[in-house]
Assembly symmetry: C2
DNA sequence: CGCCAGATTGATACACATCAATTCTCGTGG
DNA sequence: CCACGAGAATTGATGTGTATCAATCTGGCG
């Protein structure tokens, strides 16, 4: 099971023009400052990374694999998840363009990374990152900021899973997603989910049926609307926020 | 509400003889390597910290407060938690001697820290830590390791809250606690909880009544035993582990 | 057109929450 | 030392939110 970690389709060695650690904060439920990162010795990081493509539902790495690489999402959506022996799954985060993952100082990954959609990621060997960090100490500082942000997201997620009702979970999720979108484009209101109901359910600690029912209920009440299951429009954001409530 | 963060009773300026970042990994649900830390420029960290006492149930800092300090538990138990407006609470972690908290690179704390029992903590100003990190780059590296470990714990906790039944949650919790104990002393089997049922419930995403019922059931089945609610003895650890199951 | 996976909707079951008494524990003062 | 009180823990009776089981519906694709 831990064998074929690489489901890569194409791997081209490429310089990294933009600052590696720049980009918006990882994971949903941010609700905090966006900390637009500034360039960290971009010259040192050029030619260190490769761009790799993974097709839909392929695993990028498995929980328990040795930490050999760090990643940055270039396009598409990635999920970080854990499974129990009997097949129950918990998704810890969905990542999209600009998000970093695997940037931890550990021996093994504590969750799997999988492609929700077709995905392109930038991939950096741990060794090259270590070198870059040695050369530029602020790099390590930025990595700490990234992991800190992820820890905050995880803590918000704990509150959601431990103490919120199904409608509250869905509402919070939609609001977070809407916030993330609006950060990039001012589309305002329309959200492309990119993931199916099972993914959503496994992120929110619910079943597909419950997710479906609550989505339908929200639609009936006029808080949201959607024609295809993957494209949701928030029509009454204040009412939705009231539903989500949690600080 | 964010006013009096300091409920400190006594504050004495003290050198820090042992390596600050040494110690066992933070939070329950580790299940991974213990990474016994090596000394990080102990000389630079001496005289940077103060020892502060907080009495039972006092808040050390509030969610949303500016991050001014980092902490290390010297004795007692600390809980990290979040509350909703209507009083629901989620505890993210319990910390005990040797554990670090507040070591993030963020502007504000994303959760409150409270004393479960009477507690003594070592307290370091952010500024002094930054200075130490500049002087010794490996320091930042160690901090990244600490936060990474916490992120892993948070992810395990997500699986527990999102996908496990009440008995599974209790069993996992007891096993983790037992592991932590055995790491320090070879007491084997006997666990001092230090926290009441409400704390336990808020950590596990359950109610006091459910926690109590499940504990009683486990006792009746002979997997555990306890005379006082706070002192639990695991009598059939393999059966308990089978109950917990999750990878 | 017909197949199939995903989504929705309905009927029912059950795990855990909620409401409501006891019972236990422990600190305090007589 | 024991009685007392108060908060915590336990236990019981009942309710309910979400899971489970089971159709049906929908949309994409060979």
């Amino acid at each position: 099971m831990h064998a074929a970690t690489s489901s890569a389709i194409k791997a081209t060695r490429l310089p990294v023009p933009a600052a590696l650690l720049a980009g918006r904060p990882q994971m949903p439920v941010p609700s905090h400052t966006a900390r637009a990162g500034q360039a960290i010795a971009p010259d040192r990081l050029e030619r260190l990374g490769t761009v790799v493509r993974h097709e839909r539902n392929r695993t990028i790495y498995f929980e328990g694999d040795d930490v050999q690489h760090c990643f940055k999402v270039r396009s598409g959506t990635v999920r970080l998840c854990k499974m129990t022996e009997d097949g129950r799954r918990q998704i810890a985060a969905f990542l999209s363009a600009g998000d970093l993952f695997g940037w931890v100082d550990r021996d093994t990954y504590s969750f799997s990374a999988e492609a929700v959609t077709d995905v392109t990621v930038e991939k950096y060997s741990r060794r090259s990152i270590d070198d870059a960090a040695t050369a530029d100490p602020t790099m390590m500082h930025r990595m700490l900021a990234v992991v800190s942000e992820q820890l905050t997201s995880a803590h918000n997620h704990l509150l959601l899973l431990g103490r919120m009702t199904a409608p509250e979970r869905i509402a919070s999720f939609l609001i977070d997603l809407a916030k993330r979108k609006s950060a990039s484009r001012a589309d305002a209101g329309t959200i492309e989910l990119h993931m199916n109901r099972k993914d959503l359910a496994d992120y929110l600690g619910l079943t597909v049926e419950t997710v479906s029912r609550v989505m339908s209920a929200l639609k009936r009440k006029g808080l949201i609307s959607f024609s295809t299951p993957e494209c949701v429009r928030v029509t009454q954001s204040t009412a939705l926020e009231r539903l989500a409530m949690a600080a």
